[in-house]
């Protein structure tokens, strides 16, 4: 049984509708995002489901996961804090911002907070160069930008996310 299709029948149908029927393969990226909605990474089970939906091999689906940085084969924190340290941001203090943020959270880039809530990642230009320092948050099937940041404002954002997670956790329970 295709779990993905079972869980999100309408989304799957809407995605497949975008592309000519003989090019179902095109649906792979939107389907991978869908697969990440639930737990933030693409599970082996989802790979099989997507392979079935697109007529690809599981190897080919995995290959796509590996190429694109917004797809994650491994579980990380619930929210991925993706700080841009590319040249324009760096000219406006992004490297220092990231260093302080790591210190504040007590983890380094690539690591996850012990409560499983946040993973810090360093990313390339996000087209917000004029509002550096900035980061985006990937999690809960969404991506949001946070610009003109200081470490203090960033910690506020994270606090908000933590509350959001607790709230949705309670609702689910």
């Amino acid at each position: 049984m295709n779990e993905l299709q079972k869980r999100y029948p309408e989304d799957v149908a809407a995605i497949l509708k975008k592309y000519p029927p003989e090019f179902r393969r095109s649906a792979i990226m939107p389907l991978l995002y869908l697969a990440q909605r639930q737990d933030g990474h693409v599970s082996g089970r989802s790979v099989t489901d997507i392979a079935e939906l697109t007529g690809l091999s599981t190897t080919d689906v995995t290959s796509v996961v590996g190429f694109y940085t917004l797809f994650h084969a491994e579980a990380g924190g619930r929210y991925r804090i993706q700080v841009c340290t590319d040249l324009p941001c760096a000219l406006r203090g992004a490297d220092d911002f990231l260093a302080l943020l790591q210190k504040e959270l007590g983890i380094s880039v690539g690591e996850t907070t012990p409560d499983g809530m946040f993973t810090i990642e360093e990313v390339k230009c996000l087209a917000a160069c004029h509002r550096a320092p900035m980061f985006q948050v990937q999690g809960d099937g969404d991506i949001t930008y946070h610009e003109h940041q200081t470490v203090e404002s960033a910690m506020q954002v994270l606090k908000g996310l933590r509350q959001q997670a607790q709230k949705s956790g309670k609702e689910a329970a």
């Binding site: 975008k18 000519p20 090019f23 393969r25 095109s26 649906a27 792979i28 990226m29 939107p30 991978l32 995002y33 697109t54 690809l56 290959s63 796509v64 190429f67 694109y68 940085t69 917004l70 797809f71 590319d86 040249l87 324009p88 760096a90 000219l91 406006r92 990313v123 390339k124 230009c125 996000l126 087209a127 917000a128 160069c129 004029h130 509002r131 550096a132 985006q136 969404d142 991506i143 949001t144 930008y145």
Partner: protein
Amino acid sequence: MSQYLLLRHRELPDLDKLSGYRAQGGFETFKKAVNDMSPAEVLTTVKESGLRGRGGAGFPTGLKWGFIPNNLWPHYVVANADESEPGTFKDREILENNSFQFLEGLMLASFAIQANVAYIYLRGEYWQLAKQLDRQIAELEEAGLLGKDLFGSDYSLNLYTHLGAGAYICGEETALLESIEGKLGQPRLRPPFPAVAGLYGKPTVINNVETLANVPLIIANGAAWYRSFGTEKSPGTKVFSLSGNVVNPGNYELPLGTTFRELIYTHGGGIPHGRKIKAIMAAGASSTIIPASEEALDTPMDYEEPQARFNAPLGSASVIVMDETVNMAWLVSKTVNFFKHESCGKCTPCREGTFWMNRISHRLVSGNGSSADIDLLDHVAHQIQGKCLCALGEFSTMAVISGVEHFRPDFETLVGN
């Protein structure tokens, strides 16, 4: 100056709402085109306007549309909203605040080549924008501006968004097509060009968001009107993304041919903390670094001059400004690291060359390099040139070669004596 063609939302109210956009005559042009114009007329007007692609290469837009053969069907239009060049954030503002104008441009392009389906490829990080566009497309369908047999004609059009997922290379048009087709974003061989064998092997026009956003006004006001902006060879206005060490970073819409000086000092407010300007990059990380001489500052920003004077293409017109405190070797290590991260890995010189340059520049910046490393870095960059499958490999060498050429002392400080 100040007439806005692209950033009209800055002066017109509610342009981000369908009603607001329509209040300014929005979609009347598209309606007129479908009802009263032939596709060829639309194409000719664009051709005559001299509009050039805003995605980086500055290729004449009308000429590109004209390449689409009429014996191969269906045709597709793809809007390039991948906007991933470091320092570039202009398409984002258009999409956030003036998206209907862009959509109308996309619709006119589709009509001009008689495409019934068009895709908007957005970088994955434009997640919120994709959601917004999806809503707006639904509104247009509801309003009868998209869909089957528009305005009683036999022309039908549907638009879809497609999100990338974090890969700069997908801005390269053939990699972008691969990505829509669900493959790795690796560039294709050319020829065949997308105009002949593009999306799903079918004739395809690919245009940048900003390019398309120009089209409704061109069709509405005519080619001559459009040519009243900018220069002879580079007509129109351009949104310049200004970033780095300036007082007021941001987007500035100015006629092509405006000087760096005007952008940086008049509009950008100059360099903060009373520092001196040291260098300029005009095309994001892919730039040739221009030492900020008086001559440089007085160079008009169009598709000819910076190229002719400094071998520095205007590209996407993402102007990054560096003040005197910036060590150019450090800067080069940043750009090299970017390209190493973004190389798709398909061709050897780019895959291995960016990796190698990254090792060397990292060594230099961390203080473990020697002056031989400076030459080696320069040498490897030259060795990449002329051998790659797509332009990314070439881009990766621009800052390195110009950086070593103009700012060798910055590199030497890092290796001591």
